[in-house]
């Protein structure tokens, strides 16, 4: 993990993604600095998740270039996706925990597959991760079907962090959580980012998260990044969609309370 500051963690240029006749991402360019938390906002169905899935290689792109930690995703794709996979962790929207494994086994899974560790050390590390995301060791023996929504997200985050990746992708990490749990989750991401030096790419709709956690926010509209910068930059943006998003009734209400 080369941590030279000048090289961005993720650099996307001229990316086009489409399904059939429909173009979802249209010549999009974006870069994410090392060690920052970038929030991505956009309309529902506007291609946020598509962008994320394309960056991590789950969806094919039509053209463009994606570099993660300085390596072209395309070139490292086939054989050594194996290796890239240890550089990033992904928190899927619904958690995507393996339902036949306990939470602890879910966290151990990437380590078991990628590393050579003794069973006891693996268990200790997995328990450590479980506690770092705010759960108790006893929760480790529960199966995903026995976990609440918030716990599922925490276990999924612990699994994403299992190999201490340089980048984590979070797909709507706070959706479906109550404001207190969402606030705690934001706090957790912030702490982990500080302690582990993570780069976080976060897709979210949660204005509070954007306000409190994100270093920069990118707005995706019409398949392009129409505005990017700190929260205050975005609030000043003149793009009609961004204005509607941040100056709508709900947003104003939140901002008034926040100030």
């Amino acid at each position: 993990m080369d941590r030279s500051p000048d090289q961005p963690a993720i650099r996307v240029s001229g990316l086009v993604v489409g399904f059939g006749q429909q173009i979802v991402i249209d010549h999009l360019s974006l870069y994410v600095r090392k060690g920052e938390i970038l929030g991505l906002v956009g309309a529902s169905g506007g291609g946020k998740t598509v962008l994320m899935r394309t960056i991590i290689g789950l969806l094919p792109k039509r053209s463009g270039k994606i570099e993660v930690m300085g390596d072209d995703v395309e070139s490292i794709h086939d054989r050594s996706l194996y290796n890239t996979a240890t550089r990033w962790g992904i928190l899927f929207q619904e958690g995507a925990l393996f339902s036949s494994l306990t939470s602890l086994q879910n966290i151990e899974f990437p380590m078991r597959e990628k590393l050579v560790l003794t069973e006891s050390l693996m268990k200790e590390i997995a328990t450590a991760k479980l506690e770092m995301v705010g759960l108790t060791p006893a929760d480790g023996n529960k199966f995903p079907s026995e976990l609440s929504g918030g716990m599922t997200k925490r276990v999924a985050l612990a699994r994403a962090l299992a190999l201490d990746p340089a980048i984590v992708f979070l797909d709507e990490p706070t959706s479906g959580l109550d404001p207190i749990a969402a606030g705690e989750f934001d706090e957790l991401i912030k702490t982990l980012q500080a302690t582990l030096g993570l780069t976080v790419f976060m897709v979210t709709h949660d204005l509070a998260s954007l306000n409190t956690v994100c270093d920069r926010v990118a707005a995706l509209a019409d398949g392009k990044i129409v505005a990017i910068g700190t929260m205050s930059d975005l609030l000043r943006s003149q793009h009609p969609w961004v204005k509607a998003y941040f100056h709508g009734k709900r947003s104003l209400m939140l901002q008034r309370e926040a100030s």
């Binding site: 050594s80 590393l115 590390i125 500080a194 582990l196």
Partner: protein, 393 residues
């Protein structure tokens, strides 16, 4: 380390900037450790080995000093390994001093010192015999529960049928027709083919062996009675249990998983009325028809085999069949069909509703559904055989 080889071969790409090292120096009784290099998961194996090497020295020492000035990179794994050493010293009552921690890692080390403090008590190994007994006990209670689930579903179904009889319009007619189409109409080709082959095989075996006694013509009795009384209905029932019973379980199970069944209940609808009753009625209607088609198809297969392999012309086969079988044989087969369909339907639906949240449980319940319904089909068939024998049919 059975997977060591596979991992190593693909590793060089991740092995990072600098290999980790762990220097040790003894100053009186105090051990000084100087970790350096990259203390990250990429070097997990090397790190564990380093610690195994210094473990005896740590055990002997009466004080520990860790100088972390040369650590290039540190992550959770590295931090935890150092934390483990610190803890083992502290539990033995000796002081630990850590110096030279880089600012960016202070938070991580702080965080790691707070985890794994109270590991939950691992369950002690159980006596093998006791474990065996426990399994037997659990399955006994499981069997009792199975019976009660079956009876409950039968009762719920009875209530639903009463409801429909009182108010015929409450029957889900569209759903019933759809399932009738799925389990009846669409099943005809495969049922006909399988029973055709079974009939032909029975005839061929019969001819082959009866030929030794010159009793080839009795093959018609064999095929006729066997197919009409037992084989027709059994083969069709087993096929239906595998084909439609499993589909019922999987459908209801995934609806249960996605909370669709809870949604139905909260709207004041009984899942038994809406989902189970149309499915079971469809099955009860379809199975006798499929049995009839299956039996005819098996007789046809037997007849063709008798003609081509045994040299018995179709007209003789039909004439002999006329003498050999009576209406009672046909009735015995067909009477059983709706009861067997009821058993398959109840098992399939109740197992579907027992699915819990996970994908694994869906698979398990579907397997149980098929195995259990085939087993019960055969048991029921045996019970009917005893019953019909005692009433002289």
């Amino acid at each position: 380390m059975y997977f060591a080889k596979r991992v190593n071969c693909s590793y060089p790409a991740i092995v990072l900037s600098s290999a980790p090292l762990l220097g040790e120096a003894t100053n009186g009784a105090v051990l000084k450790l100087t970790p350096s290099g990259s203390w990250t998961v990429g070097n997990a194996t090397a790190l564990e080995n380093l610690f195994n090497v210094v473990a005896p020295a740590i055990q002997k020492s009466k004080g520990l000093k860790i100088d972390m000035a040369d650590v290039g990179e540190l992550d959770t794994l590295g931090a935890w390994l150092l934390e483990k050493v610190k803890r083992s010293m502290r539990t033995r009552g000796y002081a630990v001093a850590v110096v030279g921690v880089a600012d960016r890692y202070a938070g991580l080390i702080e965080d790691i010192s707070l985890v794994n403090l109270n590991t939950p008590a691992t369950r002690s190994e159980q006596n093998l015999l006791l474990a065996r007994l426990e399994t037997i006990g659990h399955s006994t209670f499981g069997a009792i529960e199975d019976v009660s689930v079956f009876v409950q579903m039968l009762g719920a179904l009875g209530i639903a049928v009463f409801g429909v009889l009182r108010q015929p319009r409450s029957l889900r007619f569209t759903s019933l027709i759809y399932h009738l189409y799925q389990v009846g109409w669409l099943a005809i080709p495969i049922m006909a083919l399988v029973t055709f082959l079974i009939g032909a095989i029975i005839a061929q075996q019969g001819i082959f062996h009866f030929r030794q006694f010159g009793a080839e013509s009795y093959v018609v009795d064999l095929v006729g009675i066997l197919v009409l009384r037992e084989i027709g209905v059994l083969i069709v029932a087993i096929m239906v249990a595998g084909r439609s019973g499993s589909a019922y379980t999987a459908e209801l199970g995934s609806m249960k998983m996605r909370e669709e069944i809870d949604a139905l209940s909260t709207m004041g609808l009984d899942p038994v009325d809406v989902l189970v009753l149309p499915r079971i009625i469809a099955l009860v209607c379809a199975l006798p028809v499929l049995t009839f088609i299956g039996s005819m198809s098996a007789l046809y297969g037997g007849g063709l085999m008798a003609w081509f392999y045994g040299g018995m012309s179709p007209s003789i086969f039909i004439a002999r069949l006329h003498e050999a079988v009576s209406l009672a044989d046909f009735e015995v087969g067909i009477i059983k069909a709706p009861f067997i369909a009821l058993v398959i339907g109840i098992i399939a639906c109740s197992e579907g509703l027992r699915v819990k949240g996970s994908a694994e449980s869906l698979g398990k319940q579907t397997t149980i559904s098929v195995v259990k319904s085939i087993f019960l089909v055969i048991v029921l068939d045996g019970a009917f055989a005893v019953f019909f024998a005692s009433i002289g049919m």
